[in-house]
């Protein structure tokens, strides 16, 4: 993902502007092109904010009048930052635009800092700027990217902005928004599979935990942005919540394999408490969670505790009758009896 972003940004270095347009508004100025290449970090962990952003912050400080340097910095914050960084970015550019009244570049950059967070307001402000400065190419590029995005798609406007930008900056690269979302991590599922294949427990547990961390970071790439619908955000969160149960199950199994029965019991007890909380909040995960717990107790030959889970499931079924789940419970009971 990081290399893709880098590719798009680097592509802006190698093109030529149209007559009458300040070259710096289409492309990075020649004197900073090599610096940009060095400032874009391809770090293995995209969540390492400072590693990705600090070089571009420095670049911007060295070239405060270069709009592309600012844009690259803004993009790095957007692509690697969490809510606090994003808020800080907007505040920073609000202050800069106040400190530089009537400077087109700063007004534009403030509006641009709102993209992805309050995109409708960004559109309004950028259009306002273009009404007075129709030849300001970066604004057309930003609007084109917004209108090309799934959340704010407007084919006609996108075409119009693209035409205008191409007239002003022939050959210059367009931007794609938002940056591609990382796929959900496969690590938790892989950890489960490796556990079944008798892999090394410590490594498997670390893998599962890393999977959760990766997905938590992925969620932070979704939650603060208006590129995504409320429903998608909610769904992503539920999927992650579900994954936590897989990770905890892996943890219990790894602890058992390593002979840490106390630790396994501790994790199970915490899982049980969490399951009770799910019941209180009528969480849709509740049934699956109880099933998971029953299986874990059964694996640990803790029949009494497994039976308690069955009781909880029975209680749930009495409140929410479901023949399919009734069968599932029956199968679990039979399976345990046969052990």
């Amino acid at each position: 993902m990081v290399s893709k972003i880098g590719f798009v940004l680097l592509a802006t270095l190698a093109t030529s502007p149209a007559h009458g347009v300040s070259p710096a508004t289409c492309e990075a100025s020649p004197e900073i092109r090599t610096e940009i290449a060095g400032a874009i970090v391809v770090a293995p962990d995209p969540s390492e904010f400072e590693k990705h952003v600090a070089p571009l912050r420095t670049l911007r400080q060295r070239h405060p009048q270069d709009v592309i340097a600012h844009e690259l910095y803004q993009d790095a914050v957007q692509n690697h930052g969490i809510e606090g960084h994003l808020r800080q970015l907007t505040e920073e550019y609000q202050v800069l635009s106040m400190q530089h009244p009537d400077e087109l570049m700063y007004d534009y950059l403030y509006a641009r800092s709102l993209i992805g967070r309050n995109t409708r307001e960004a559109i309004r402000q950028i259009n306002q700027l273009l009404a007075q400065h129709p030849e300001f190419a970066p604004a057309h590029r930003s609007l084109e990217a917004i209108y090309d995005s799934a959340a704010f798609r407007d084919v006609e406007k996108e075409k119009a902005e693209q035409v205008r930008f191409r007239q002003l900056c022939p050959g210059s690269a367009l931007q794609h928004l938002p940056a591609p979302l990382p796929d959900p991590s496969p690590l938790v599922d892989q950890a489960e599979a490796q556990l079944a294949g008798h892999g090394e427990p410590e490594r498997i547990l670390a893998m599962a935990q890393q999977g959760i961390r990766d997905d938590e970071w992925r969620l932070q790439r979704i939650r603060p942005f208006d590129w995504y619908t409320v429903e998608f955000k909610r769904q992503s969160q539920v999927e992650l919540q579900e994954k936590y149960w897989k990770m905890w199950s892996v943890e219990v199994r790894c602890d058992r394999l390593e002979g840490r029965q106390d630790k396994a019991a501790e994790v199970l007890s915490a899982m049980d408490q969490r399951a009770d909380l799910l019941a209180r909040h009528s969480d849709p995960l509740y049934w699956n969670v109880r099933t998971t717990l029953a299986r874990l107790y059964e694996e640990g030959k803790q029949k009494d505790l497994a039976a308690k889970e069955f009781d909880s499931m029975e209680q749930f079924l009495s409140q929410h009758p479901d023949p399919q789940r009734r069968n599932q419970l029956q199968e679990l009971r039979v399976h345990m009896a046969s052990q």
């Binding site: 969540s47 390492e48 904010f49 930052g81 969490i82 809510e83 606090g84 960084h85 808020r87 800080q88 935990q209 959760i212 961390r213 938590e216 970071w217 969620l219 932070q220 939650r223 603060p224 969160q237 992650l240 919540q241 579900e242 936590y244 149960w245 408490q273 969490r274 399951a275 909380l277 799910l278 209180r280 909040h281 969480d283 995960l285 969670v289």
Partner: protein, 447 residues
């Protein structure tokens, strides 16, 4: 002169020996077991109020994670710094809404969900839940604020945050840390509904006797509207809404509509927009229509829960406890620990003109050097504390603002030190016979 001094010292030593001997014989009967008898709604609430209470208590028990992504921790906004992850985690004993439980949940909280916190030395498994305040800043100016025990750094849902815990060991060594334990919230709607005039009249009552015993007392006041503030250890909070809002932000790190700014707002540790808790535009089912509790913020629901809870119910008194109740009054304890107050007109009809028994005047008093914590809050100075309400005392596990003791006898004795308004009353208590003292203790444990 020297001889007189010597005599005074000998006399003092004798007094100490005598009172220590007599105190030794008295035993705190310990926390009352059995049915908590609290935690439900105030009797006589309307069906709508009862529903609100039942929904609100669920919010009070909700567990928070950083962004609500950890299953079983659906609340949003924990941290960057925090002391707890749920109201009910600390307000737990003898039931939801109470005070510190027997097993301190803050120990397990330190490393929950991958957090990398070290448990400070003053947090122990069998000790009270505590928050820590620093008396002074490093430059010598007054601090007084709460410093969160823990940070979210290392939690699976706080990738990238590297905020460090405060340097508690260093601050402890410098004598710069004081503690507070959770105050129970049962029956607080009655306190909120008590008119200022009632409290003023009550404080002015028995002025002559109080004066003879060195008891003054004053109220902590709101600088905004000039009315009496009455919640918190120093009566620093005006209303249950403010009380809840402050606690939500300070104890759990959840910014809200009353306390809108995130604390310890390091950009790399901020995962949610502010306020993290706000009035809901949509119910959890996605509808723009819902009950009051469904659409209200957590903050409103917390306040509603506290407002609508029933006060603790005392058990029926033994003969000893009945005698203790009389002695409690005759010794002078009741001059500040006012047994009975009456509410004014309240929003809830059931709570209007209701008589209740808080055993507090809700005034602040100088409690002397032994209890002084060096913290100023509003008009309350370093050694001034609100008269702690004694209702529910029978089941309480830890006493005094910092939970320094679990022994009622020690808590009583701590009322006496240089500058305390309670010195004379404590002396009178100490002059009671052993069985009389025991009666007082039995009375207190019946509350």
């Amino acid at each position: 002169m020297k001889q007189r001094h010597l005599l005074a010292v000998v006399g003092l030593a004798l007094t100490v020996v005598v009172s220590a001997g007599s105190l030794e014989a008295q035993r705190d009967p310990g926390p009352r077991g059995g049915d908590p008898g609290v935690g439900g709604f105030f009797p006589g609430l309307s069906p709508d109020e009862q529903s609100f209470f039942n929904a609100a208590i669920q919010d009070f028990m909700e567990v928070d994670s950083v962004s609500g992504s950890v299953s079983g921790e659906p609340g949003t906004g924990l941290g960057p710094t925090f002391n707890g992850n749920s109201c009910a985690q600390c307000h737990a004993h003898p039931s939801v809404g109470g005070s510190s439980p027997a097993t301190n949940p803050q120990v397990a909280l330190a490393n929950l969900d991958g957090a990398r916190n070290t448990v400070p030395s003053f947090i122990t498994t069998d000790g009270p839940v505590r928050e820590a305040r620093f008396i002074r800043n490093s430059n010598g100016t007054l601090d007084g604020g709460v410093h969160g025990l823990y940070t979210i750094a290392g939690r699976t849902d706080a990738e990238g945050c590297s905020l460090s815990q405060p340097t508690f060991a260093q601050q402890l060594a410098a004598g710069n840390v004081i503690f507070r334990i959770p105050t129970p919230v049962f029956g607080l709607g009655l306190v909120e509904a008590t008119p200022d005039s009632t409290l003023l009249t009550n404080l002015a009552a028995d002025r002559r006797v109080k004066s003879q015993l060195g008891i003054n007392g004053t109220f902590n006041m709101s600088g905004n509207d000039g009315t009496i503030t009455r919640f918190g250890w120093k009566a620093q909070n005006k209303s249950l809404m403010v009380f809840a809002g402050e606690a939500y932000n300070v104890e759990q790190g959840v910014s809200n509509e009353a306390f809108i700014n995130e604390r310890s707002a390091v950009a790399g540790c901020i995962y949610n927009g502010s306020p993290e808790d706000a009035t809901r535009m949509l119910s959890s089912a996605g509808s723009s229509m819902g009950t009051e509790a469904e659409m209200s913020s957590d903050l409103v629901n917390f306040a509603a829960f506290m407002r609508l809870t029933a006060p603790p119910t005392p058990v029926s008194m033994s003969a000893s406890a009945r005698n203790g109740a009389n002695l409690f009054t005759s010794v002078g304890c009741a001059l500040c620990h006012t047994s009975t107050l009456t509410t004014g007109m309240a929003k809830s009809a059931a709570m209007s003109n209701a008589t209740y028994h808080p055993y507090s005047d809700f005034a602040i008093h100088h409690m002397g050097s032994r209890l002084s914590d060096g913290i100023n809050q509003g008009a309350a100075g370093p050694d001034q504390f609100r008269t702690a309400p004694l209702w529910g005392l029978g089941q309480r596990l830890f006493f005094l603002h910092d939970g320094r003791t679990a022994d009622l006898v020690q808590a009583i004795q701590a009322h006496s030190s240089n500058g305390s308004e309670a010195n004379n009353v404590t002396r009178r208590f100490n002059s009671l016979s052993r069985s009389q003292m025991q009666d007082v203790l039995n009375f207190l444990r019946s509350l």
